[in-house]
Assembly symmetry: C2
Homo-oligomer: 200 residues x 2
Amino acid sequence: MKKIIVIGASGTLGKAIVEQLGLRHEVLTAGRNSGQYQVRIEDPASVEALFQQVGKVDGVVVAAGDVHFGALAEMTAEQFQSGLASKLMGQVNVALAAQKHLYDGGSITLTSGSLSAQPIRFGANASTVNAAVDGFVLGAAIELPRGLRINSVSPTLVDESVDVYGAYFYGMETVPVKRAALAYSRSVEGAENGKTYRVW
Amino acid sequence: MKKIIVIGASGTLGKAIVEQLGLRHEVLTAGRNSGQYQVRIEDPASVEALFQQVGKVDGVVVAAGDVHFGALAEMTAEQFQSGLASKLMGQVNVALAAQKHLYDGGSITLTSGSLSAQPIRFGANASTVNAAVDGFVLGAAIELPRGLRINSVSPTLVDESVDVYGAYFYGMETVPVKRAALAYSRSVEGAENGKTYRVW
């Protein structure tokens, strides 16, 4: 039984991850406004404070961070930067801190998404951020000490979010969120490092 | 004969691009401190001012932007962010502005790099930024109007830079910068959109 913290635990994806990992592990939940611990991943000081509170863990999972959706023709640098600051830099902040607060052999699992390779209208920022997260995982993996590992899960739109985001994803196959949650389990409980698990 | 502006024209890569494109086109050169026009790509206002100065063009090529090289264990959020602000957001700033200042059928060509897929020690920020640039190109391509195109060139270390960066890249095959420059020609003079031309 491992001690794992899930950041973004109250989201559609987060809840499914907590349920899946909770079958076999002690799962701590964190979120911006919910869960057992509060954290703003965009703020390195808030991330460090989280790890000071929870102490050492065996696994860190992030299913949090926003991107900017909007037409490329009207996209401003500020809007584009907001996605970099949240879903990209937020997850990087967690990973940079986690490498110091994980037990030997522990894992970091970040969230990217299928738009890295399957672009949609209004999704230029998301394609950028998701590709960046996967690139970070690949680059960071080879430098982690003490048997630490880092992977990303790249889900497509999940069935449970079609009501909200379906109009952006017409024609794309969706997957049950339970299937996406399995990929997080594979990252946390497997032995691979520097991988992106595509769930699409 | 097209009118093409090359940003970062005085670098090792930039000079080779100017030479290659100059065989058949009118090439304008820009850089932070050199070239015919000065621009700081990290600053959207500076980028907009550049396009106001040069007027409409048929092609924009960016071979500029810095990343942070350093050990992951000691990397700070600020250091990581510096690479995002320069090589990633800088090139995005150029692309967002260029879509409004290109003639119909014009092209944008950005620069990523092989570390997106072939990580090296100290290169986590570069892997992230390079993957992000390729992801941006993929996402932005499908929204461009008026026959505009956007591609990226992903070079490995060039022979001419081995003296400076070779120690980071031991064991990796390098390529003549002339070969990398050909890929920019292919992007500018070809007809593809949303592609990453790997030169490795």
